[in-house]
């Protein structure tokens, strides 16, 4: 193993992986058209569009809150990756979502999340969803995650990485 100034390179690799994480390769993420717009140190923002398949009354154009929970759970995981700067395997321990205002299908939203604390292998994340256009608060959430849970590294899911 060589000791070199690998930090910029590693950082670049992580950012590339982050782009690919939200590429169309993942069926669920592409359903919500998730796109990272800000990637900081444990602090991220992702835009998404609430797909019509989350409508739960015929022709109501009301999106089920589950669409928001799916988005929050995904972006929360991403906030942890952004702090670790890698795609270590993580598992949601629990997640609480408060629904503040009703969301319609087709709505463009932005989901921001902060991994605000770590204790050993537990990461704590909080975040919110707002309407992209007018900033109206749609949902808030907090979650706890197990970092380094058993299971493969998300990095190996990237195209061209491993088999």
């Amino acid at each position: 193993m060589t000791v070199e100034k690998a930090i910029p390179a590693a950082h670049f690799e992580w950012l590339e992986g982050a782009q690919e994480f939200f590429s169309n390769a993942h069926p669920l993420f592409s359903r919500l058209d998730m796109k990272p717009v800000q990637i900081g140190d444990g602090d991220v923002c992702v835009t998404a569009t609430l797909n019509g398949l989350f409508e739960y009354h015929a022709n109501s154009q009301r999106a089920h809150g589950g669409a928001l929970t799916i988005l929050l759970d995904t972006v929360f995981g991403f906030a942890i990756f952004a702090q670790l700067r890698n795609f270590q395997s993580i598992a949601t321990i629990n997640l609480r979502t408060d629904y503040i205002s009703p969301a319609s299908t087709g709505l463009k939203v932005k989901c921001s999340a902060q991994c605000y604390a770590r204790r050993d292998n537990i990461a704590y994340v909080r975040g919110e969803i707002r309407e992209a256009e007018n900033d109206l608060l749609v949902a808030t959430a907090t979650g706890a995650f197990m970092v380094g849970s058993r299971g493969p590294d998300f990095k190996t899911l990237q195209p061209g990485a491993g088999s």
Partner: protein, 131 residues
């Protein structure tokens, strides 16, 4: 009670159904690759599990109220107890509180064995009484 295909996009996407057994309704979904969070583990996405638990609680409340009163989710708190596989996922609901304006539901989910829970949730709903 079954819903015609095309009538409810969310139910179609989840493969949702309900079955009455000994005066208790058992709700289920049939997950596919669409619902996976981690493709290598083939584990369901936590948000998909939460969606099902909340929707099952909503349907149970609709059934119990039998009034067509609008029901709105206030919040949901989900605990993930085991990795959820792409196999049939079941849930039963216990209504912990049913007031005029608020209901609280405890949801228990399992896969092969009803005694081995894979997730649980508490969902709160507000009920509009119209008048």
């Amino acid at each position: 009670m079954t819903v015609a295909i095309g009538e409810n996009p969310l139910e179609n996407w989840l493969g949702f159904s309900s079955l009455e057994e000994d005066n208790e309704r058992v709700y289920s979904i049939t997950p596919t690759d669409e619902h996976i969070g981690n493709p290598l583990l083939r584990a369901l996405h936590g948000g998909v599990v939460a969606t099902f638990l909340e929707y099952a609680a909503y349907r149970e409340l609709q059934y119990i109220l039998d009034s067509g009163a609008p029901i709105e989710a206030v919040n949901i708190n989900v605990d993930y107890l085991k990795s959820v596989k792409t196999r049939k996922l079941y849930a039963t609901i216990r209504i912990a509180k049913l007031g005029r304006r608020l209901a609280v539901a405890d949801v228990h989910a399992w896969q092969e064995d009803a005694c081995v829970p894979v997730a649980k949730a508490v969902c709160s709903f507000s009920i509009s009484n119209g008048a």
